[in-house]
Subunit: 349 residues, 4 copies
């Protein structure tokens, strides 16, 4: 098959518009050939357990799944009873961008909280952390946070520690939507476990797709006491891959060496370069502090419309004029510089 697209064209729309890292494709090739037990009985999925224990501690269990929606819904199902509720930020992907899958497919009741920048705090959690023992209220059982957040911001390790301590005090467990957890680690310059396992996180949706995989996420059960039925629920959630060796091989390629960190660090650096190039331009207002690989700014809607025809990106909020620019493992300095120059040109009229 011949390529149908231009492999040199890149934009700033999303890190899932990028393709797969060559090392990832090579790993799939290495795992190919011959027969291996399906549904996770293969040697690659066995090795994957060791890789994840290395990053998240000896108790960690890794359950490969297909996509982020699946990872989140499965995590939350395994952490809750059928009468439970999940406290999350109003801007959480699980509340906003999964088409209602958590409620409709997962039977989950979400209790969203407005936040200034996508980050919960113990005080914000308390706005919904009420009503235990009252059958008229779905019982709060999990706090779900996103790291890095949907608005490109970061929790420090200490902030996550405080959330975990507070949640645990109230009898709740903590889930991290880690679609971009690698970007967080790179930005915080910390090992993955330093702001998850070590500060009390219970279950993580660990993202691979946005960091250079073809497909695949992993539900990491850091605290096995906080999740039950994972094996069965992964099947009923329709997230059990038959040829799981290929999901696992990709994650081994990502996490056994430093590919995860190289790629995430690079995309963060490109976002930083973009931020530096545009923040002082007249007509650009930063919407949130860009702390990982995403930059949110307010610009004129006409400028945004013209610019996005040349470099694809997304308008985040029509009402406020906020747009989102995302950098990927394959974003180049030249991409950033050309884009910043184009923006400057458009702003000048």
């Amino acid at each position: 098959m011949m390529p149908l697209h231009d492999p040199s064209a890149r934009g700033f729309k999303s890190d899932n518009c990028a393709g797969a890292h060559p090392e990832v494709l090579a790993a799939i090739g290495a795992a190919n050939g011959g027969h291996q037990p399906s549904y996770g009985g293969d040697v690659y999925t066995a090795r994957l357990q060791e890789v994840f224990k290395g990053h998240f501690g000896e108790r960690a269990e890794a359950y490969p799944v297909f996509n982020g929606t699946g990872a989140n819904v499965l995590s939350l199902q395994a952490m809750t009873e059928p009468w439970s509720a999940v406290i999350c930020a109003e801007t959480a992907h699980v509340a906003m961008d999964e088409g209602g899958a958590p409620e409709k497919t997962g039977g989950l009741k979400l209790l969203p909280v407005p936040t200034p920048d996508g980050r919960l705090t113990p005080a914000l959690i308390d706005r919904q952390a009420t009503g235990w023992g009252d059958e008229h209220r779905a019982q709060p059982r999990v706090v779900s946070i996103t790291q890095s957040t949907e608005l490109g911001t970061l929790y420090t390790a200490g902030e996550i520690a405080a959330i975990c301590a507070h949640a645990h005090d109230l009898g709740m467990a903590v889930h991290v939507d880690g679609t971009r957890l690698a970007n967080a680690a790179a930005a915080l310059d910390l090992p993955l476990r330093a702001f998850t396992t070590d500060v009390g996180v219970d279950v993580i949706s660990f993202g691979g797709t946005k960091n250079g995989l073809l497909y695949g996420e992993v539900v990491v059960v850091v605290n096995p006491e906080a999740a039950r039925g994972m094996t069965y629920l992964r099947k009923t959630a329709m997230q059990l891959s038959s040829k799981m060796r290929f999901v696992s091989a990709q994650f081994i390629a990502l996490l056994e060496g430093d590919l995860w960190l190289r790629s995430a660090g690079h995309s963060n650096a490109m976002a930083g370069r973009l931020h530096a190039a545009v923040r002082d331009l007249p007509g650009v207002v930063m919407a949130y502090e860009p702390q990982a690989n995403e930059v949110f700014v307010r610009i004129d809607a006409d400028v945004a419309a013209r610019l996005s025809k040349r470099f694809p990106f997304e308008t985040w909020d029509e009402a406020t004029g906020v747009v989102r620019w995302v950098c990927s493992f394959d974003t180049t300095e030249a991409d950033v510089d050309a884009f910043a120059a184009a923006l400057a040109g458009e702003l000048r009229g």
Copy 2:
């Protein structure tokens, strides 16, 4: 990454124990690089529409998804109302092997019918096709058949035509679980549409994984009047791939040329070779007529236990001693001959 497994080891456990066909991996490589719109806005998914129209007719719509459970549940959700029921064979994968996903995740009520060999008929359908207008009964709305069946048997085009005519007369639509639809086409020596579109099938779960893909199935809506909400339901069913170009590219590689037919025909031929080699062995009783790429036989349990240590395969039914042998696109004549010889040896004691 180095291979962790022996790429020369193969067995007869399932066609999902095989890996990916080299042409499929090449297609992924061709589709890689640069940025493409996510969630199906890419050029490969656009081309895929044409490929599927070529096979299934101009009205056909192709919705790539991750796996077979997802394809089946999504198809049936799109074909039903929340108060509907689905008539299927008692041995249907959707009833037996999906961990309850249809009921638990899809909210589907199944009405299973015992069959002699995995195949429904109009008369068998009538055993459950009752109760319309009675609110105490989930309303039969879909007949779901599997082609080739879970027992390795085949419907002729005429048999499917009769089922479709009967179902349509009763106001029901017809779904085909086509996990192995390519094997059926090869065995029947018919174009795909000849026993689907042309005889009245409404929606198909078209399998890729068991015919040499890394991952991926396609829900083919042959009759758009028989399904609604596909786009939204694919998302809530957690089957929407972000980097969809890679699912689509695999299917283009499979279906644009004749790879699908070569691979399926080969696996059928290997099953035929195996059947021929073993059917007359004393101690072997054929359980079903092997019409595609699967062979079901009754053998002594001790023989099965010893043999499966050397060549992995599955005991299908402990109670009756039936075992299942599945051939794949990469099964070789030497594999078959060695296996048949080993069986003969074990049977001789």
Copy 3:
């Protein structure tokens, strides 16, 4: 308000076509007036606990609900995990007559078993009691039986003991759909607990509506270790009555004295009288042994059509010509005699 119907007209269609027993209405009157805490905080619901402990043992907990579908689905939800399955007879009300509510509303996977007369046995249970640990199979967790059955037959106490022992050995719990449990007790001439609590039953849907209540059933958790989340699940199952005192008062009227037994015994006796009057009529074939308050016979379809215009009753199975005649607490000897005479007349032509 004036009556709109003829209060002297009665038939044999169902015990839920009868009204309420006068003692039940009197109890509602007694419980009326003044304010009482809603949602079960009232004194009648407190007293109800004692009444049920008296019948089912000191560990029994009573949860009033609205109707039988609700009682069954709630019971089974509380007894299962989201990945569990429930083994039941193919003719079970939960499988046949609840419009798919168990699957669609309760997220339950049923594993139905064909039976000769509506009764399961350990051997029949074993046809579905397989697959623990296999994520592709919903995990059998509960056996649900109906006493008296949907076909008017009875389990002996010993038969239920054998089912409970077998289920418990396999790690499953036992639910009884006791819509007509009172009829069973009257027919067996045993206290309620003798064929439930004392032989190992875990949870019961205890019927009131068909034994002379306006409305109301009670989920009786005989073994609190076998159910969890009852309070919350009753709310999410939409079965939490705000003015619960009126459900509870009805059940107190039924169960504190012997009203339950008088009424059930009477309806059984009327079915017995009917059986005796018709069993030897030419053209009448008994379909099942009538052991409680229901009589199932095969008669000519034209006879059935003419007769049911004079005395309403239901054709149970169009295909086989089986009809069902149900007696109620208010069925009189004269009703039975007139009906039997009419049948004899119709049969004579």
Copy 4:
């Protein structure tokens, strides 16, 4: 059975702490005796259709159900597709007080909007009325309002007209949670249809329990084009009463004459009397304008604690010290005066 409670004790906790109006009990008595078809085939349910058409117009269809949670979830299920969402006030009963039943049992995604006093407006609706065609967002399909609201406030007929016009312009339908619709009619001094049918409302959960019934609500489909599958969904929602004649007879007693209006007008008047008696007391701050039968005030927590021991009522919001006082059809002037005097006494210390 003897009364177990004091029929002269009343409080201000909820209108569902009251019992049934004597005329309602009389209607049940009139409907009792003899046999009537179950599940709504009876003459009372037939008459009920006429009664509701009289109040809500010739197209209105009335579906009796058991309780308010059931009425709301059933209404919203019938008005939506499986991928739809429902816009409601953050304080809506459906969002706050149904234990997650809408999400968990109904598969509904709610899009709550903060409001000043429990009332939505077109502008507030627009905060969530976005994203049609975007599969990542559950598709807004219904606006649900409560009349009178959970905070004791009222929409005018004009305000509801504006909401309906706006919703319909956007392709959405309008549901009214009318648990206290009678109170609204009495307060507005308008026929029921003047602020529902005549201004564009599509479906209503019409409350009976809080206005003097034993139990029972009615889903009124004012616009049959806005709901589908009602009959089947009522069954799967476990809200189909077998002895439906008794639900219908109660509603006939309520609505055929003016009992509904007398009772609602009386409870409103008692709330008005209470409001007048307390609003100028030092230490009492009105939380919302009391427009129907509920009064919300801020008082000192210790005062509230002491007072509620003498006259039961509910603390609505621990954080703000708001308490709720609800008047019923059986609240007397003496009750109100004694309560107001007790409050004044407590406030004086």
